[in-house]
Subunit: 69 residues, 6 copies
C-alpha cells in the first residue's frame, strides 16, 4: 500500500484519552518527544489501538507549518 501523505513518523502509543466522538492519542517518537493526534473514537476502536502499540503518525505536507525563533 502506498500513500500520498509525505510524512509517516514511527512511534509508540503513550496515552489514549477518549471523548464521546473524538479521541486524543499521544505517540512517543523519541525519548521525551511526542506527537499528539486527534482522531475519531470509532477509529481508535476499529483499529484496536492500545497503549504501548507501535504506530505511525501520518501528516499531509499541506498541513505542516513552519516556525522560526
Amino acid at each position: 500500500m502506498k500513500v500520498s501523505a509525505r510524512n509517516l513518523i514511527p512511534g509508540k502509543i503513550k496515552s489514549i484519552t477518549n471523548g464521546m466522538v473524538s479521541s486524543e492519542v499521544v505517540i512517543e517518537i523519541a525519548p521525551g518527544v511526542a506527537i499528539t493526534s486527534v482522531i475519531t473514537k470509532h477509529s481508535v476502536e476499529d483499529m484496536g489501538l492500545k497503549e504501548g502499540e507501535a504506530v505511525k503518525a501520518m501528516v499531509k505536507a499541506s498541513s505542516v507549518m513552519l516556525v522560526t525563533d
Copy 2:
C-alpha cells in the same frame, strides 16, 4: 508566544523547492528522517527561509492520522 498547535518538531531545512504560489520545504528532524511541508512562496520569502536554517515543523493535532501495519 504560546500556540495551541500541539506539535512543534525541531529540525533543519534540507531543501526548498519554489513553485509560483506554493513552496515545498523539507526539514530534517533526525539523521535520515525528514518532514515535508507545503507553504506559500510568500511565507518562504517573508520568513527569509534558507537551507541549513533551524526551524520547527508545526502541526495541529487534528491534522495527524495514525497508521498501523
Copy 3:
C-alpha cells in the same frame, strides 16, 4: 517568533466550551463578528485561556475557502 501561517486575526475570547477531548473557543474579532476555533482541551489548559483574554486566531492559507453569492 515567525510563523508561516499567513492569517493571524486578533480578537478577544468570548466563550470556551470544554468537551472531554476538544474545546470550542469563540473569539470576537470585531463588534458582532466572531471566529470559532476547535482545539484540544489540553491546549486550552496549557495556554491557560480565559474568557475576555486577547488572542489571535491563526489559519493556514490552504485551509481558507472562498464563497460568492
Copy 4:
C-alpha cells in the same frame, strides 16, 4: 444554502496570483486587514473570481488555531 463551516468572513478580493495548479487569493476584510487563501486555479476560473469582487472567506472551526503573546 447552509454550510457547517462556522467561519464566514466577508471581504473584497485584493489580489489573485495564479500558479499552474494553485492560486493565492488575498481578501481584504477591513482596512489594512487581509486574509490569504490558497485554492485551485480551477476554482478561481470556475467561480470567475476577479479583483475587487465581494467574497466570503470560509474556514472550518477545526482549522483555526490560537496564539497568545
Copy 5:
C-alpha cells in the same frame, strides 16, 4: 452561491453521534458506501440536521490524499 471547495458529494444522513463539542455525522452516498464527517455540535444544531435528511459532503481538494494497493 458558489464555493471554491471542489468536492460536493450528495448523500443522506445515516447517523448523528453528539459529543459535548463535536458531532460525528455519517452520510450514505451510495448503497453501502458512507462518508464520515466530524463537525461542531453547534453546526448540527444550527443546521437542524436530522437522520434521513439529504445533505452534501464538502471537501477542499487539498484535504484529499491518494492511496494505491
Copy 6:
C-alpha cells in the same frame, strides 16, 4: 495496513495536472462523479500515478463539511 482516516473512496484517475510543487489529480468515483485531490508532485512521481489507474481517495473525517439547500 490500517489507517485512522475514515473515508476511503475507490475510483480511477481521470487526469493529472502537474505544477512545480503541487499536482491536481481528478479521480472518477462513479460515472460523471469526480473527486479532486491536490497533492505534491513528488507524491505523484513516487507513487508512479498514471491516468486510468485505480486509486482510493482518502479523507480525514475532520476535513469533511456538510452543506444543505
